[in-house]
């Protein structure tokens, strides 16, 4: 195999793994609400969203496994890599905080993913396009839900408004990373495999601004921003999340249902 093809393959693998990691890590965060959501109906609803993310992660890991020259399985990719090998964007790994924070994150991500997946479903890579098309339908529903929660909490009581505004303020500096192209994505752009993240910003801004205004919330104006997820530089909580998630496979290697 010549050098050029090798690089291209590993860029594709890196990209697919990053997509899988984003979905898995957010799914793992959402699962923390299972059995502890504010009430039963919301518990089921948020768990459904979580399962959509785990399903998306699984689809990308399966594809990554096929691309992997080390022949790791989807399960091994998810359960046997360490923090530095995970390339999820930081916003996905932030602790769930209170319900307002969880919904603030979900909303900004849902707006992003609705736009992002709509582009990714036209990927020249059929597998990626297929996964994106399936996820896009799920994401439309996620946004419908999180948007309602932003309006309800933002324009709700004084306490719900304050909590949601605080949530937005806390996560705002993690958002710019969503619109940054990774090295892998820069390489794959020319073949039309991935989406141009930066180009999604205007649509995201328009949607978010409209909903925040309707919910009587203030768009945070913060100068700080954090990145590094794609390079494996994570927040402190990432290791604890993996410890929880990977415990079984680490303690009982190869264990199956």
């Amino acid at each position: 195999m010549n050098e050029a093809i090798k690089t291209e393959q590993s860029a594709l693998l890196n990209f697919v793994l990053a997509e899988a990691d984003d979905a898995l890590i957010l799914g793992q965060r959402l699962i923390e609400w299972c059995y502890s959501a504010p009430y039963l109906e919301e518990d089921l609803a948020i768990s459904n969203v979580c399962l959509d993310y785990l399903g998306r992660a699984n689809n990308f890991y399966e594809y990554a496994s096929e691309l992997d020259t080390r022949k790791r399985s989807a399960d091994q990719l998810a359960m046997l890599r360490d923090s530095r090998e995970f390339s999820n964007l930081l916003i996905h790994e932030l602790p769930i905080g209170d319900f307002a924070f969880t919904m603030a994150r979900q909303f900004v991500l849902d707006v992003f993913y609705v736009e992002y997946l709509a582009v990714l479903m036209d990927s020249t890579d059929d597998r990626i396009a297929g996964i994106a098309a399936k996820s896009a339908k799920e994401c439309d529903y996620h946004l419908r839900r999180s948007r309602e929660w932003i309006l309800r909490l933002g324009d709700g009581t004084e306490e719900s408004h304050t909590r949601l505004q605080n949530g937005l303020n806390e996560l705002w500096g993690y958002i710019p990373e969503l619109f940054m192209q990774s090295e892998a994505e820069k390489q794959l752009m020319a073949q039309g495999v991935c989406a141009d993240r930066a180009a999604l910003q205007p649509a995201w801004d328009a949607c978010v601004n409209e909903v925040l205004e309707q919910a009587t919330l203030t768009r945070p104006d913060v100068s700080w921003k954090v990145s590094g997820g794609r390079e494996g530089i994570h927040t402190e909580t990432h290791g604890y999340l993996l410890a929880d998630m990977q415990f079984l496979q680490r303690a009982y290697p190869g264990q199956q249902w």
Binding site: L44, R145, E148
Partner: protein, 96 residues
């Protein structure tokens, strides 16, 4: 949970296939009817049970009462001529 934190109760009706009627499947609590519809989707159609959902505020339902049974239902017990049992149905009609 104190009284003001209890969300209104909604009765949920699901139509499982086109052509069939909506059937009562259960109830849930929600802030308003839009949220009830979304929760009904998440609680009752997870396994592709439905193609259409109705949500009805439980307090909007007027129900017959147990103590009215004798005046409501008993009088029709001895009126067999109201049933269509004496008509012979054509073969193709099997759901009547």
């Amino acid at each position: 949970m104190n009284q003001k934190n209890i969300l209104p109760l909604y009765e949920i009706f699901i139509r499982s296939k086109r052509g069939l009627d909506h059937k009562h499947v259960g109830s849930l609590h929600a802030e308003n009817s839009e949220q009830a519809l979304e929760y009904a989707r998440d609680v009752y159609t997870r396994r592709s049970e439905g193609v259409s959902i109705w949500v009805v505020l439980a307090s909007d339902i007027t129900a017959s009462q147990e103590e009215d049974a004798s005046s409501f239902y008993d009088p029709s017990d001895d009126k067999p001529y109201r049933h269509a049992m004496h008509y012979v149905l054509p073969e193709p009609i099997n759901n009547m």
